[in-house]
Amino acid sequence: MTVHNIRHANTRHADSRHGDASDGAVGGRLSRVDGPAKITGAAKYAFEQQLDGLAHAVMVEATIAAGTVRAIDTRAAETAPGVLLVLTPDTIMEIKGASDWLGNPPTQKTYSPLARTVTYSGQHIAAVVAETFEQAVAAAALVEVSYDETPAIVDLSDAKAGDGIPIDVMTKEWGDAEAAFAAAPVRICAAYNTQREYQAAMEPHGLIARWQGEELTIWEPSQWLDGMARTYAEWFGVPFENVRLVSPYIGGGFGSKALALAHSAVAAASAKMLGRPVKLVLTRPQNFTSYGGRAATRQTVTIGAGRDGKIQSIVHRGVNETAVDGMWVEPLASVTSIMYATPNFSSKQNVVRVNTVVPGAKRAPGENPSAFGIECAIDELAYEVGVDPLEIRLRNYAEQDPEAKKAWSTRQLREAFAAGAERFGWSKRSPKPRSMRDGHQLIGWGVAAGTYPVRRAYGEAIVRILADGSVEVESSSIDMGQGTYTILAQTAAETVGVPADDVVVKLGDSRFPRAGVAGGSRLAGVMTGAVYKAATSALDQFVGLAISDPRSPFHALQANTLVVANGRITAPRGDGPDVSIAELLASVGRDRIEATGDTMPANSSAEDRYKNYTTIATSVPHTEGDYSRHSWCAHFIEVRVDEDFGTVRVSRVVSALDSGRLYNPKLAESQWKGGIIMGIGQALLEEGIVDRRHGRIVNNNLADYLVPTNADIPDIEVISVGIPDLHSSVLGGKGVGELAIVGVAPAIANAVFHATGKRVRDLPITLEKLI
């Protein structure tokens, strides 16, 4: 359980506010209330829990990419100093199969987190538990494994990979795209590739597991406490309520921390087998093989257009890699099918099984690679027909969702193009490639758009008005840096009518009221809605008491309602008593008022509720009802490419974004900038490099897997062009966290083309592709 009390946490400086109390209300620029705890080290992360009798587990991984484990010789490891337990597929306790994140029941009765059949290098095959971490590491090195190796399919370009499996549900067709393309006066066709990328969160994956009888407590960084708790409950055959997941702080997730994984099962099993708490933290290299990053993708985008650049047809074919023993579909047409108006459209997608860990979610899965294809392709079309890359986007502006044929709930993309272009100075762009330079630096300006759907799900919160007049919020939702603590405090403060300083928010404990996954940029919309409802209900109770309780000073007033503001309660016309919340509660003899609120349909059953919080099966489609709901953005990016060295540096970014209403602009801007930075990494640096003979990623550490440093990042200017969208959420916000990465890589690739005249369609754009 973690408490953030703004009163203590948010040291006030004159420049941290905008001069009035609005910072504490929804829409104010309140600084992160968890910031001071993180900066001072007071914030306790999962692995920092100090428990008596803690034992330490270390994983042993497969060193082949495909084959079977012939034998595991554990004798030397078992007798090594401090060793408590050596686990192999034969000696680990039985673990039951668990349903998947969609809620599908298990396909196998039992689950073996340690593999006998190896399908990727780095797969867990054994584990060692010892008194100390160093002893476990030393003993793990003594585990001898022999294999029968079989040929591996290394990646999408492997000759053995083939065309893959068609994913029929991904097919999208309208009009006659092939015929329209054949008839189009202007035709372009190009292939675009994105590489395997990793979330590379600063905090590695891992956990501490402790059993007390049949009750399991897990300290583990988590984007989804209730979903992961369900998995543990099913694995070990205990009631859901017996599992407590604790995750007050997360050192970066980016999509990777929503599921309980094989190593999680091993840690919990060894804790049960030993009767002692066990800590297991993956090494940095293991963080590249124990769960999946973004799948490598290949897309072919074909556009048929008129000489004016008006699109007549888009034909799109996509492929993403998945694992031999797991299915991951990265929806590659998710932006292609909605960004531009086209009367004819066709998209199909295959997945190809390769010997890798099953790929996973990384910031804007689907939309991110999809935008790389279509947003580069339309840039190519712009040059082909001689139209400005911004103008061609406006000429093909989709006035409604071309796929769903529904009105947009809100789409401020035209406004984003206008605001971004103005601020960037786009009109001063010299259209010809290689026509702008500064000494040895070739300068290029590129533009690209992005979008992300509004995913809606469910959350529940409790709001309490306490005897001292403060307000408490509890929810099992999480804050991985996006600002949940802060915006929920603002929501409760505004709704109840207290200063944000007087709100305490508690998150990250599965014992609190439940919440769905913090993924797909849905949590803020869901949880502000739940807190708003709970707080409204608490306020109604409070005002009701003040009006009706005979002991209340307002009782004689015979008012229909009262005003609660700034922690005080008054009559509407100010002609009655003026007392604090604490004084009123005291006068009516109550020590608290408490209300629960959720964003579920009314009269949902207990089973519905359980399913809603522990699976993603019940997410509401973004095209439900009459509207199509999405966030939108436009990126304007300047690059400088050294003419001799081929090095690309991003020198200027102006992005205009429509995330609807912002609950806290300061935090939204910070998330947008984070997404843009991650997009710069994707465009220029990030790539999991695989040894083709061993099927193993070799740059599996933070020195060799390159993510941007501060030196790579210029000042980034972000502009909010959103308006409240009440079709998307209770308070009018749309998604924030994933939006801003979408479109960054194509804007950079387009800028590189403008700078150099060279079209790089294969990310990342490293120097050898330009010299």
Binding site: F645, T647, L684, L685, V698, L706, L767, I771
Partner: protein, 327 residues
């Protein structure tokens, strides 16, 4: 990490003696040793801690020479006013090395002992063949991922790149390393892999780096370190050049030129062919670009690192031309 004994040396003499213990390794900043111990490459039996030795972190500079104590921190040397004015290439090489956190910990003596970043060398559990780690076991890098591997000074046994920046600048300016009885040129201190890639330095049991000495020169005063890489900071060089230039009184004829390359060779690489080709010549762009190509004499690529052969001469040329502009 294996268990090891820990010895804290209380004098240089004691530290030297301790290096002769079986499996002994010196601990200075620890930025290489701890890293390699964690990935299972370094398995010291005895760690000899020299961080408390007095007097080994001094930096003294005058026009004639710079003397850097072995325990001087990279960041202190980089920021030293005398180094910046008399040996700018040395300061710039250090500023562009590693990260701020590493430079604050790492010592210049330890930096000379930094080992290759070859991913095959660094992953013993997955790649058993590595001649540098296990003589005679083979080379996993040849035929593998080679984007960061050397194109100069390689052998059949090893193509691992020397990753450091400081030593590249030291080699350009004929610096020496003090080992106790022996004083070696830094260029000779680093060994080519040949058939014995496990031997990277000419250092013997009982020896310890105590100081680095850099002779002053006009070329060192007018010098620069140019490092090219995909990431602006905290990345090893795709190619780098330490260059020093001295012009005749006419301001255009090259009297003295020093060129050393980083990021492309198995050791810090002095490009004497470039120096000789340009000495006595009038400095102009065409001449410099042409001569810079000589830096790659004898280069052999292994596929993905071919770009280094194109890139390195351009880096050399840019560095020389930049110095020529700053009169």
């Amino acid at each position: 990490m294996r268990d090891f004994s820990y010895v804290r040396a209380d004098s240089i003499e004691a530290a030297r003696k301790a290096t002769a213990l079986p499996g002994a390794m010196l601990l200075a900043g620890g930025t290489t040793l701890v890293d390699l111990a964690k990935c299972g490459v370094a398995q010291p039996e005895t760690v000899v801690d020299i961080t408390h030795l007095k007097g080994l972190d001094t930096i003294s500079v005058d026009a004639g020479r710079a003397t850097l104590g072995a325990l001087a921190k990279m960041s202190h040397v980089a920021d030293h006013a005398g180094i910046k004015s008399h040996f700018p290439a040395v300061s710039e090489a250090l500023w562009q090395a590693a990260s701020a956190q590493l430079r604050n910990m790492a010592t210049v003596g330890g930096n000379l002992m930094q080992r290759t970043r070859c991913p095959y060398f660094r992953d013993p559990s997955n790649f058993s063949a590595c001649n540098k780690r296990e003589p005679g076991s083979g080379c996993s890098a040849i035929g593998g991922v080679t984007r960061g591997h050397a194109v100069l000074g390689t052998s059949q046994a090893c193509i691992a790149m020397y990753p450091g920046d400081l030593a590249t600048a030291l080699v350009a300016f004929d610096a020496t390393v003090h080992l106790g009885q022996r004083v070696l040129k830094v260029d000779d201190f680093f060994l080519l892999p040949g058939d014995t890639p496990e031997r990277e330095h000419d250092i013997r049991a009982g020896e310890m780096i105590t100081a680095i000495e850099i002779p002053g020169s006009a070329a060192a005063r007018r010098s620069t370190y140019l490092k090219v890489r995909d990431r602006q900071s905290y990345e090893f060089a795709a190619a780098s050049a330490a260059v020093g230039l001295e012009l005749e009184a006419d301001g255009r004829t090259i009297r003295d030129l020093r060129v050393a390359l980083g990021g492309v060779a198995t050791k810090p690489w002095r490009a004497r062919a470039v120096e000789e080709a340009l000495k006595g010549k009038v400095l102009d762009e065409d001449t410099v670009r042409k001569a810079s190509g000589l830096a790659m004499e004898g280069a052999v690529d292994h596929g993905a690192n071919h770009y280094k052969i194109e890139l390195a001469p351009r880096v050399v040329a840019r560095a020389i031309l930049k110095l020529g502009e700053t009169a």
